[in-house]
Subunit: 299 residues, 2 copies
């Protein structure tokens, strides 16, 4: 594939990554298996291409995990062309996105997404990975950030400081004045030296489970009780609020007639909204909130 156009190699890489990640997550879960839906752009729409949505539900470890692959073509809407500051042109987009919602409130939710977008005049990569714990285990958060710092530093010493801050800014739930989670990395519009960026994206994609699975393994036997599960359901409500109110990717997908079920695979399986729920000062729940209100340097 090395002589093939970047768009083909990117699509191939994301497809391989989806397969290998799903296989490893199934093994880690030890219970449920991924189902698969292959979809194409609805006939009548202007776009072409399609994707593969894979979903694991009701596992021993994972209550719900979705891993999406897409490779689509279409024409930019006026609104999107304006937002991207480009002409209203045809586009090709391919990417992988993943959200894992564990059953245990002791295991954090993880999100990962990498994507490549190509226009006649311009192309770029975007993506990242971030962690949303319900209870704070500082060593887990440090491990997650350390993994991303190592990946970034092997490619460009400017990456980690930029991508860590970008992540803290992007995943901020303004109307709650708190971060969605403890961050990770986020980047977008990386268009200089695309081969070099692709090599970074490949390594980041492959390292995602090295950043996440050791945390899953460490916390899977951690005991938890009903009140902690309730706290997890309430915090999951914040996840929904971010994704539906603020997340550009979700809103872009819904607006442009993307496949709703695939886009909303990111939403948690079970969620609670209680009026004005506040943790007891000094509790573990309050410790988490303090960190979400003031993002830290973890490495």
């Amino acid at each position: 594939m090395s002589g093939a156009p970047l768009k083909d190699r990117a699509r191939e890489f994301f497809a391989e990554l989806q397969s290998s990640i799903c296989a490893e997550l199934e093994a880690a879960d030890g219970g449920a298996q991924f189902g698969e839906d292959r979809w194409t752009h609805a006939p009548g729409g202007a776009g072409g291409g399609g994707g593969i949505s894979r979903m694991l539900a009701g596992g021993k470890v994972f209550e719900k995990t979705g891993v999406n692959l897409a490779a689509v073509t279409g024409r930019l809407s006026e609104r999107l062309a304006e937002r991207l500051e480009v002409a209203q042109d045809d586009f090709f987009a391919t990417g992988i996105s993943l959200v894992a919602h564990p059953l245990s409130p002791m295991i954090p939710t993880a999100h990962m997404n990498f994507r490549y977008l190509e226009l006649p005049t311009k192309a770029w990569f975007g993506g990242g990975a971030d962690l949303t714990p319900y209870y704070l285990f500082e060593e887990d958060v440090r491990h997650f950030h350390r993994t991303w710092k190592a990946v970034c530093d092997r490619h460009d010493s400017s990456y980690h400081p930029r991508f860590k801050s970008w992540c803290d800014e992007y995943f901020f739930v303004k109307h709650r004045d708190e971060a969605r989670g403890v961050g990770g990395i986020f980047f977008d519009y990386l268009s200089d030296d695309l081969e070099r960026v692709f090599s970074f994206v490949r390594e980041a994609g492959r390292e995602f489970l090295r950043a996440y699975l050791p945390i899953v393994e460490r916390r899977r036997a951690e005991p938890w009780w009903d009140a902690q599960r309730e706290w997890q359901l309430i915090r999951r409500g914040r996840y929904v609020e971010f994704n539906l109110v603020h997340d550009r990717g979700t809103l872009f997908g819904l607006e442009t007639g993307g496949r709703t079920e695939s886009i909303l695979m990111s939403l948690p399986p079970l969620v609670r909204w209680s009026y004005d729920q506040r943790p007891t000062p000094g509790s573990r729940e309050a410790d988490l909130l303090a960190v979400l209100r003031t993002p830290r340097e973890w490495v």
Copy 2:
């Protein structure tokens, strides 16, 4: 109060309506009681005023019901002034909003909102009421619509046809290609002959429980089982999707720094998102979906 400015009489009316509705809902529930939070605009913000949020949770009939009252002053943001096609001026806004989420999937969720907005150059009323069933009882839906038609017709024969269609259009969840519920009435920017409109709003406010409570009474003893509760939780997910992705009121509130907990009182207590959940053809769940996909004339 009859000689007082309209803004004061509107605020007084909404305050009385909140008290009487909460008292009647408590009586209908027969279990839980409303709590109350009085709030004022955060110091440091440019606006004044505040509100009273009342919340009943864990009742015999109502799993969660919130009734909000607000009367606030501030200055229109540039963005909002643009949307409303007015100058960037000071405003006064007062209103009542209610969402009732029953425990039983046999009882529909109800939403009601009436509001008055005043600028130096213009003032108007907006609002409405709509019903979101989980199982379809046609006589209930007909009763709801008949009540609103009667209220409308007593004031202006053009109201009901306009407000019924406006409601069907407003509460449409575009990305699901289905209505949030079976509709009711919705209106906005009613600025001609404000005293006449206020008289309509007063009657509509007072009639809300006449439209809703007979349905609650009729269905409270209806048996239901776990699979029906699950369907309710999934449908509640659509309610969340509408409120967070499409509802102008919710997004306006969050954007302009309104009180988040009061704005999001509308969200259901417990919600499920399952991947690509589809009802069996011919089932009661499929009957509901058919009605949501093609809004009907009920009167």
